[in-house]
């Protein structure tokens, strides 16, 4: 099975890339600020002064933190590497362009998943209960992969200016947060609002989180999972295919 052993070898090398990413890029000060503190403050500015229950707040906070952390660094790794002139060296190694993309996604996933522990612990301390931990954890894992893959698609245009890529990312990230049932739950949205919400992958994660913590989601968890899987597959395929095309233009 040469294909299988090749795939395994490339996966292991993707892990090497991911561990390099984490050591170099994920321990920078601004990363933690933008990825963690920023969504917390954004959420607090919304929640303070309104009488919201912890059960309502935690799923939203979790969704936001997960979304922001998993998409915080992944878009700029590629331009950073190109600027630092390390990308060409990487591309001459016996790894596929998809392996580099996969490595960046894995790093982003690990970071997002690790940080998601923060709001969960806050929630547990404040007294939330999680009705079905299996479903809850699976949803976190799936959603983090989905958002990490989305983050990588932002850097498809072969610009090596992190600011340009961050601008593209922000144009997508901010609207997504507002249309995903975080601040206003799905059942309180008008029908047209719901239709907009359905184009955001974050909607489905927030819905599962509400189901697990508040005990009531708006959609069936099966639909939520199916939608998340669908988005993930699309983002992965687009990211891998398009980066392969645009990567040589970066050097």
């Amino acid at each position: 099975m040469p294909e299988l052993s090749m795939a395994w070898q490339q996966f292991r090398r993707a892990l090497v890339i991911a561990s390099k990413d984490i050591r170099i890029y994920y321990f920078k000060g601004p990363v933690v600020t933008f990825g963690v503190l920023f969504p917390i403050f954004l959420f607090l500015s919304f929640a303070i002064g309104r009488h919201l229950t912890i059960d309502f707040m935690i799923p939203g906070l979790l969704g936001m933190i997960l979304f922001f952390t998993a998409t915080a660094i992944s878009p700029v790794v590629m331009p950073w590497e190109a600027q630092a002139r390390t990308l060409e060296r990487l591309m001459s190694c016996p790894i596929k362009p998809q392996t580099i993309v996969m490595g960046d996604i894995i790093a982003s996933f690990a970071f997002g998943a690790a940080i998601s522990v923060v709001p969960i612990i806050i929630g547990l301390v404040l007294g939330i209960t999680i009705s079905n931990p299996m479903i809850f954890v699976s949803a976190i894992i799936l959603a983090t992969v989905c958002f990490a893959a989305l983050g990588i698609t932002f850097s498809i245009p072969p610009s090596n200016l992190p600011a340009t890529i961050n601008m593209i990312a922000s144009v997508v990230r901010f609207p997504v947060v507002f249309i995903s049932g975080i601040f206003i739950p799905l059942n309180e949205l008008p029908v047209w609002g719901q239709w907009i919400a359905y184009i955001s992958p974050l909607t489905y994660f927030t819905d599962i989180a509400r189901d697990s913590i508040q005990g009531q989601g708006y959609l069936s968890p099966i639909i939520d999972f199916a939608a998340l899987i669908g988005f993930t597959v699309v983002f992965l395929v687009v990211a891998m295919y398009m980066h392969r095309k645009t990567m040589p233009a970066r050097i």
Binding site: M6, Q9, R12, R13, V16, I17, K20, R23, I24, A84, R85, T86, E88, R89, L90, M91, S92, C93, P94, I95, K96, P248, I251
Partner: protein, 316 residues
């Protein structure tokens, strides 16, 4: 595109590769072969297509046409990349990693077993003069140290074929010399080396054969000495005096076709160097000048290069 016939003794076989950027043919239908164990130089002025060619051979970009094989595997395939060590033109190591960690990263990406990787890295850092700084972050390395490390990173997988794109460009003398010595001993140990450079001396000192590329096309390919001797004319005599000399009177000496001041020396171009040497000795005696050095110069590789690339320029 099959049809490319690989001869066993060829480490690199290039058949009619072309790379276009818009309407520009950066590399235009070039073919050549590098033998197993050969030290091959790839010379050309800036923008001639050297880097584009190396990038196609190392799988960083794809050729639009043609085929290149590295030890029988298509350039850019995982198999070809696995056999190659690469020092890209403007590459850098990870500056937030130590030299040691950079080597380990490369070893892991090439799938080198950990024990072997450590052993090799230790030996490489020693021969590259970096062993004492192996745990310092690359940020704190000088340019020469970084370039030596990058060469180490290309060697940690013990590649059969080594591609180097201007590896000594802009380096201090010591680093450049260390790199050249190392390349020589690698080649002596049987490695095939593909070196691009615009430094004629370097090519002359190191390469078994050189190809000269200009405007995306190969204009000559041969041993440096053969290219040199095939270049017509332009013999000269180089002379320096202890004290100042009137350059006009030098230019008027019999047989001098052209005079050029090169640093503290004068280069006198002539068709008959041995006669000019005698003339110069007589002249200095008569003028009461003391000669410090006196050399006859045959056309250099640089002359050959200029002649070949100029001719091309005129044709274009």
């Amino acid at each position: 595109m099959p049809g490319a016939i690989l001869v066993d003794s060829e480490a690199i076989a290039v058949r009619n590769i072309t790379k276009r950027y818009g309407t520009l043919n950066a590399v235009n239908n070039i073919s050549f072969a590098v033998r197993q164990g050969e030290f091959f130089g790839f010379l050309g002025p800036n923008g001639a297509g050297k880097t584009t060619t190396v990038r196609m051979l190392t799988g960083i970009i794809e050729a639009d046409d043609g085929v290149a094989l590295i030890k029988g595997s298509r350039a850019g395939s995982l198999k070809a990349k696995q056999m190659a060590g690469v020092v890209p033109e403007t590459a850098n190591a990870y500056i937030d990693f130590s030299g040691w960690d950079n080597l380990m990263l490369m070893a892991e990406l090439y799938g080198v077993a950990s024990g072997k990787a450590k052993e090799r890295s230790q030996a490489l850092l020693e021969s590259l003069g970096l062993i004492e700084r192996k745990d310092s972050l690359v940020k704190t390395y000088s340019k020469g140290m970084r370039q030596r490390l990058i060469l180490g990173m290309a060697l940690v997988s013990d590649p059969e074929v080594l591609f180097l794109d201007e590896p000594t460009s802009g380096l201090d003398v010591q680093s450049a010399r260390l790199i050249k010595d190392l390349l020589r001993s690698l080649n002596a140990a049987g490695k095939t080396i593909f070196l691009t450079t615009h430094d004629m001396d370097e090519a002359n000192q190191l390469c078994d054969r050189v190809a000269i590329i200009n405007k995306g096309q190969i204009v000559a390919i041969d041993a440096p000495e053969k290219l040199r001797t095939a270049t017509r004319g332009r013999n000269s005599v180089e002379v320096s005096f202890r004290s100042g000399v009137n350059s006009e009177s030098l230019a008027k000496l019999a047989g001098v076709k052209e005079l050029e001041k090169v640093g503290d020396k004068y280069r006198l171009y002539t068709d008959n160097p041995s006669e000019l040497v005698a003339t110069l000795v007589d002249y200095s005696r008569a003028a009461g000048l003391k000669i410090v050095t006196l050399n006859m110069l045959a056309p250099s590789l640089e002359d050959a290069f200029v002649a070949l690339t100029d001719k091309e320029a005129r044709h274009a």
